[in-house]
């Protein structure tokens, strides 16, 4: 039997890693990312002459938990046709036995990288509101994302915002939704493999079996009930917790452009973050729309539901909102007084 040198081992590994696209309409262009579920490659769709992202499992087999999960992820994406959610094109099994699906190739930056170039908090909040739109749409279709975090949001060159990585999505039981079954999520024994932390990303996913189900998500972004593995108890409020954690990240993360521009959020914004990330789901916003509405009110300089203002805060907010008119009136009054004084002399 032949002795394999270290170099040969490396070559064999490299050669075996690439997906076999023989018999498909795709041509491999290069690796884009690697995650807990598989590898994402850029590929050329030779029929439609366009670039796509091809997500493929590392290990072959259509019966494994991972394969089922990848197929389910593709079906979830097919269910969620929304401008803020990456569209899926195709799903199948490659000649080498690995399950794959293709989706739109998103050119842009991850949210955590994108905000490094955006110093203005209102600009960041407007991006966040678009994330809320996509998540609210998914919730309306009875789908929970369960892994919302900055690394799973892409911002395109034209400002388009796309929520990615629906691999942990859960389909909530709903009478009118039979398109994608959830395959007995509560009894899942699948162990989510660890994902490499990207620079600036939160720590890796953790996994463990509990009495209720499998813990899947990202520490720092997953809700307490999700961290406890209470799969059955999860509802839209779990994603709202994650959105709240993302919001806090967005409003506190320093910008690479102007580090001093983002500081401690004001009380209203902090209250919105705190309400969204309350440990008690009943104390959180009950829907994503409520969270988005409160944030929109904040952006418009209105009172927010999450924070009861003092008289001073109310006055300051009133001043900030109508500063131009207040200053105009003050200027008019000062001019008037000066005129009166001048005339009396």
């Amino acid at each position: 039997m032949r002795f394999l040198s270290d170099k040969a081992l490396t070559r064999l590994r490299d050669g075996a890693e690439l997906p076999d696209l023989a018999g498909t309409r795709y041509r491999l262009l290069g690796q884009v990312a690697r995650g807990g579920m598989g590898v994402v490659y850029a590929a050329q769709d030779e029929t439609l002459q366009r670039r796509v992202a091809l997500k493929v499992l590392e290990v072959p087999g259509e019966e494994s938990d991972l394969a089922n999960r990848l197929i389910r992820e593709a079906r979830v994406l097919a269910l969620l046709e929304h401008p803020g959610i990456v569209p899926v094109h195709d799903v199948g099994t490659l000649a080498d036995g690995r399950v794959f699906y293709t989706m739109k190739f998103v050119e842009g930056r991850r949210l955590d990288q994108y905000i490094a170039s955006v110093a203005s908090v209102p600009d960041r909040l407007r991006v966040f509101l678009r994330i809320c739109d996509a998540v609210a749409f998914a919730h309306d279709r009875a789908v929970l994302h369960r892994d919302l975090k900055p690394a799973n949001v892409m911002v395109g060159p034209f400002g388009e915002v796309l929520v990615m990585d629906w691999g942990l999505a859960k389909i909530l039981a709903r009478e009118d939704n039979s398109a994608v079954a959830d395959d007995g999520e509560a009894e899942a024994t699948f162990l989510q493999t660890e994902t490499a932390p990207a620079p600036g990303d939160s720590p890796t996913r953790i996994s463990a079996i509990t009495g209720h189900g499998t813990i899947m998500g990202t520490p720092g972004y997953m809700s307490p009930e999700q961290a406890r593995g209470e799969v059955q108890a999860l509802d839209a409020r779990s994603d709202i917790f994650s959105l709240g954690a993302m919001l806090r990240f967005l409003v506190t993360k320093d910008s690479g452009v102007s580090p001093a521009a983002v500081t401690r959020p004001d009380r209203s914004l902090e209250a919105i973050c705190s309400k969204a990330t309350s440990s008690d789901p009943a104390q959180r916003y009950q829907t994503v729309q409520q969270l988005a509405l409160d944030l929109s009110r904040y952006l418009d300089g209105l009172a927010v539901a999450a924070h009861r203002e003092s008289l001073l805060e109310k006055s300051l907010r009133f001043y900030r909102r109508y500063r131009f008119f207040i200053l105009l009136i003050l200027a008019y009054l000062v001019m008037r007084m000066l005129l009166l004084i001048f005339l009396k002399r």
Partner: protein
């Protein structure tokens, strides 16, 4: 029969769900023997090299210990105690080997065993040559991590070498010797200067033929290696984990 030839047979590969963990407990003696051979084929070299370097044993001593270890594995039905939910098989075997070596001075027990159990024909000379060509300093195996890393690397080397041998047989059976030679020249040699163009010129074929042949060989190699791996894993979860480790797919 040497373990180098203890493969799944000419052009035949084991059923997808065959697992040595189950087979080694089978009431069928032939099935048990096959399971032990499969296990030995993948692990004897890692165990031998591990004993040589980690336990600093002489070649004859390490050979005796390796033989003894696999015999004990069968005799004491150690695999029955293996729980895939708790650890990887290779980690379990390494710990068993540690424990076995620590008790190796019980010579009488080894002698008693030697009379009852089959002696495995293992190519220790080849293993010694491999050790000679490697530059592993026994002192570098001081920490638990380095020991695990070394054992994993040797296990992957052993697994891949078996898969390459299976691939060679498959190519032979399908009259694709040239494909194997191309694969050998490009993926198994240490030559950094090798290129598709050079191979095409050497073999007198088009570059696209080289590309296609290598793609086929790599696909088959991958399939064979994964099938072999599946055999020596106790569960699907363990298989997924070990496949990631063997092919370097684990997140850094």
């Amino acid at each position: 029969m040497t373990q180098d030839h203890a493969t799944a047979g000419e052009g035949r590969f084991p059923p997808t769900r065959f697992s040595v963990i189950e087979a080694v407990q089978s009431p069928d003696g032939a099935e048990r023997q096959r399971a032990l051979e499969t296990l030995c084929a993948a692990y004897w070299k890692p165990v031998y090299k591990y004993v040589r370097l980690r336990w600093n044993r002489t070649a004859p001593d390490a050979q005796d210990l390796t033989q003894g270890f696999f015999a004990e594995l069968l005799e004491r039905e150690l695999l029955k105690r293996f729980d895939p939910a708790k650890s990887r098989l290779r980690t379990y075997l390494r710990l068993c080997a540690d424990s076995f070596v620590m008790n190796e001075d019980k010579a009488a027990r080894r002698q008693k065993r030697g009379g009852k159990l089959p002696h495995l024909a293992l190519d220790f000379t080849a293993a010694e040559e491999e050790l000679g060509s490697a530059t592993v300093d026994p002192a570098s195996l001081a920490s638990a991590e380095s020991v695990e890393e070394f054992f994993e690397k040797e296990w992957v080397r052993s697994l891949f070498a078996l898969a390459v041998e299976d691939l060679r047989k498959l190519c032979l059976a399908n009259e694709r010797e040239r494909t194997f030679h191309l694969f050998e020249a490009y993926d198994l040699q240490d030559d950094d200067q090798v290129s598709y163009e050079r191979l095409a010129s050497e073999f007198g074929i088009a570059i696209t033929d080289v590309t296609n042949a290598l793609a086929w060989a790599r696909r088959e190699f991958r399939k064979i290696a994964l099938e072999r791996l599946r055999e020596i894993c106790g569960s699907d979860e363990e298989f997924q984990r070990e496949a990631k480790a063997a092919f370097g797919w684990e997140s850094p």
